[in-house]
């Protein structure tokens, strides 16, 4: 019995090894974060479409999350097999610039200037999103009107925040509060921290608590309601737009300096910035960077903020300092 199981297991493992395609020469190697390259990511339909259109074979590598992808590129240095890197966010962009070469894509003219966080175009934005508080309109709480409003006593135990030490969404909120309040950001956290039911480790658990009805207000994205409209057919969960502005996160694509397939790499970038836009926007739940793209109706439930901040404007040292003062104020 045991031997049979072992045998079956080994057999299965061996078969699955050979079922996988072998890497070919002359492929364009693209590094992306896992959720892009995974079976459910936009890559499933995009890559075959690109290969069909251009005849260029693509070797898409899921390199972990955005930070791991950067670490990997840094470790690999000049010997990296990557030609294109996709999905570096504006806040970490500075770490990638040395490895990339600028590309003046013809599509750039359709991309709004305020999104172009790298004026040298080493990284070109392909999508963006904004952090927002989402609230349950049927929970009987007043819709908050601003960040300051969240400190009001009526929201005691009604807000779910996310820790900036362990989550990019939490970090986004920290930058957001800094962009709006400057160094008083920490005071905001102290006050709203009092109202927080919990400060979760990541978006997944925070949003899970929210949908289970533990608290009616959660930190998430402006696009979150789209899912509930499309999957649950309900408009009960709504993103709140604050007139004072929202923190944005912009994802960029870039070509590595070390590539020997420059032309193919440029074709890929252009493809992502044009035909790829809609698929990526829907799969990532982000807005497409290309302003010429039309979105499906459900995106009407993902209101775009009028004012958007980016963390790229906060100096690197300041960012580290912010998290440190947050830790100091909130955890000691």
């Amino acid at each position: 019995m045991k031997k049979t199981i072992v045998f079956a297991a080994v057999l299965f493992a061996v078969i699955s090894l050979f079922a996988q395609p072998v890497r070919e020469e002359n492929e364009l190697t693209v590094y992306s974060y896992d959720s892009f390259s995974g079976e459910w990511g936009p890559a499933g339909s995009l890559i075959p479409a690109f290969e069909k259109k251009t005849g260029i074979k693509v070797n898409l590598v899921g390199a972990g999350d955005a930070v791991q992808m950067l670490s990997r590129l840094e470790l690999e240095g000049d010997s990296t097999p990557a030609d294109v890197v996709l999905g570096i966010t504006d806040d970490f962009a500075y770490r990638a610039y040395d490895m990339l070469s600028p590309y003046e894509s013809p599509v750039l003219e359709d991309i709004p200037d305020e999104l172009e966080f790298d004026k040298e175009h080493r990284l070109i934005p392909f999508d963006y999103g904004a952090f927002a508080f989402v609230y349950d309109s049927e929970a009987g709480v007043r819709k908050p009107e601003s960040l300051e409003d969240l400190a009001s006593p009526e929201y005691k135990d009604k807000v779910i925040l996310i820790d900036p030490r362990t989550s990019s969404v939490g970090l986004g909120l920290l930058y957001w509060t800094y962009n709006q309040f400057g160094d008083d950001a920490i005071e905001w956290w102290k006050a709203v921290g009092e109202n927080a039911l919990t400060i979760a480790d990541g978006w997944s658990s925070a949003y899970g608590l929210f949908t289970e009805g533990e608290a009616p207000i959660v930190l998430s994205y402006t696009t979150s309601p789209v899912y509930h409209v499309m999957n649950d057919n309900t408009t009960r969960y709504q993103a709140i737009i604050f007139p004072a502005g929202h923190e944005a996160t912009i994802e960029g694509i870039g070509i590595l300096k070390t590539t020997d397939m420059r032309e193919e790499a440029e074709a890929f970038v252009d493809f992502i910035l044009t035909e790829g836009q809609l698929d990526i926007a829907i799969a990532n739940s982000m807005y497409p960077a290309n302003s010429a793209v039309e979105l499906p109706d459900a995106f009407a439930w993902a209101p775009k903020p009028d004012i958007m901040y980016t963390s790229a404007t906060i100096p690197e040292d300041k960012r580290t300092e912010l998290v440190e003062s947050w830790t100091e104020a909130m955890t000691r």
């Binding site: 390259s37 070797n59 990997r72 979150s224 509930h228 999957n231």
Partner: protein, 546 residues
């Protein structure tokens, strides 16, 4: 003192040691060389910083309480379960291991659905009492952390204790009763000392588990002041990108844990002697009632949160019955049912390979250390537990980038192998810790008798020693399988998203706002674990009591 055939056992332990060396010790050394990059300044800073000790004291406190409560709670249950037989005994032992397989995110979700302020329990109480406030505000407090840790770890203590308690003959206890010693006194002076090995083993496993706990502490604790050392290492790696200071803190944490491990690693003085599997007494009358009450209490504690997940898979968050998740699983995109069946098989195959290898390697390390009276081997193999998942993650980043750059291969094969290897390193400490008390209890006289009768070392192992290890090996198998099945961090990190296991899919579903779908996949995961455990128990029934 070395015993006959210790060379044979040492040789058998070589593959396990090599694996540890490649996947754990080398990366750890590389990380730690980072810590000294600036000539030890970073280390000094960590040692001088009050905050380090602030974090340490909280981390120790919650881990200590969690481990103590888990073990203490397990003692009365194990006492009964290792003495009496009743029809559903085995089923309950199997079910108790289930909680262990669920990825943390689902444990958190299950807790929220059951114990939450808007959860089943509080809503039921609200209706019964006719009140509008939260009658049982357990979550988002320090006690919630302990509750969740005990929930996850009580089964470890229970299973380990029951396994070794079942092999203690009662002659000494009976003798004590005959000379008029009371039950408590007998327990304290006769039983407890003989259980010391398993108690220590269970305690340290749970302690280290809770020491590096992350999501549970942060989400259910409800207050960022409840921060563990692990959180701070994570922040330094991922937010500050300050690898030197992260490595320094990781080194500090590792040193603390390694010290604790060294203290509790089974030593030379393990008691040997008469050792026979107990014949369980049939529970009758009052004992039957006790069996029912104890079983009920255990189920009441263990089942609701996982049942909540299973129920959630059939209901929308508004409480309306819906098969949407299951339809969704079959209808979405590339066919997620295809995806989930593939993932189910992948998880199953990885889990079984990992569990078999870990029992094999765990036994060989346990036997080698027992034969050579070595503390070093079990200590080394337990080290991965002392490092915590964030530090391990750092190490894996290093290993993968090394493998990928130097070999230039990115095949599914390599991903799968590295996932198996990583799981193996993660589960091996459990396996070694589970089997070692058993290996130490094998009387030398038994093996020596076999040698005298002309049996070879290998044959003695297979025919005499291995059957004696069976209950421990079975526990090790179940734990290894369960751990591998629920593992998600290393899988994602090492497979570049190539290897899609069930927990990986669960995280993806949650990322797609589909908590009902995630609960459905969680239910599939639980069912898978249940089947494997049941089959595992059936397979071994003939050679052991438990």
């Amino acid at each position: 003192m070395r015993k006959k055939g210790s060379g044979y056992y040492l040789l058998k332990a070589v593959p396990a040691v090599l694996l540890l060396l490649l996947l754990f010790i080398i990366p750890i050394l590389l990380i730690f060389s980072n810590a000294f990059q600036d000539g030890g300044k970073a280390i000094l800073e960590v040692l001088k910083d009050d905050y380090t000790y602030h974090l340490l004291s909280f981390t120790l406190r919650q881990a200590l309480i969690s481990a103590l409560v888990s073990v203490a709670l397990a003692i009365p249950f194990s006492a009964f379960f290792s003495k009496y037989a009743f029809p559903w005994r085995k089923a309950l032992l199997t079910v108790s291991q289930l909680a262990f397989t669920i990825p943390t995110i689902l444990v958190v979700l299950g807790f929220v659905i059951w114990y939450g302020n808007n959860g089943y329990l509080n809503n039921a109480l609200r209706t019964m009492l006719g009140v509008s406030y939260t009658p049982l505000p357990v979550l988002y407090s320090f006690s919630a952390i302990i509750l969740a840790h005990v929930y996850l770890n009580f089964p470890i203590a229970f299973a380990l204790l029951t396994a070794s308690w079942s092999t203690l003959p009662e002659t000494q206890e009976n003798a004590a009763y005959t000379v008029g010693s009371g039950r408590l006194r007998t327990f304290m002076r006769i039983t407890l000392p003989r259980l010391r090995g398993s108690l220590a083993s269970a305690f340290i496993l749970i302690f280290l588990f809770c020491f590096s706990s992350f999501a549970i502490v942060m989400v259910l604790g409800g207050n960022p002041a409840y921060s563990t050392l692990e959180t701070e290492i994570y922040r330094r790696v991922h937010v500050s990108a300050d690898l030197v200071s992260a490595s320094a803190l990781a080194l500090f944490t590792f040193a603390v844990n390694a010290l604790l491990l060294a203290i509790t690693t089974p030593g030379r003085k393990a008691r040997k002697g008469e050792r026979r599997e107990r014949t369980l007494k049939k529970a009758k009358g009052a004992k039957m009632l006790e069996a029912i009450v104890l079983s009920f209490l255990m189920l009441l504690f263990l089942v609701p949160p996982i049942a909540a997940i299973a129920i959630r898979a059939f209901y929308t968050k508004d409480g309306i019955f819906s098969l949407k998740a299951w339809e969704g699983i079959s209808g979405r995109g590339f066919g997620l049912i295809g995806g989930s069946i593939d993932a189910l098989i992948t998880s199953l195959v990885i889990g079984i390979i990992v569990a078999l290898l870990s029992v094999w390697m765990g036994s060989s390390i346990a036997m080698a250390s027992a034969k050579r009276n070595s503390r070093l081997l079990p200590f080394i193999s337990s080290l991965p537990m002392a490092s915590g998942s964030v530090t391990m993650g750092l190490g894996f980043i290093f290993v993968t980038s090394f493998i990928f750059t130097s070999l230039g291969i990115r095949s599914y094969c390599l991903s799968l192998l590295s996932v198996i290897a990583a799981h193996l390193v993660i589960v091996l400490p459990f396996s070694v810790r589970t089997i070692t008390p058993g290996a130490r209890m094998i009387p030398d006289s038994l093996s020596n008798a076999a040698y005298t009768l002309g049996r070879s070392t290998g044959r003695t192992y297979r025919e005499i020693e291995k059957p004696l290890l069976a209950p421990y090996r079975r526990k090790a198998f179940a734990f290894s399988f369960a751990l591998s099945l629920g593992e998600v961090n290393a899988t994602l990190m090492l497979s570049s998203g190539n290897v899609e296991t069930l927990p990986v899919l669960i995280y993806r579903m949650i990322g797609n706002y589909d908590y009902q779908g995630a609960a459905a996949l969680g239910t599939i995961l639980l069912a898978e674990a249940l089947i494997v455990f049941a089959v595992g128990e059936a397979r071994w029934r003939k050679d052991a009591v438990l």
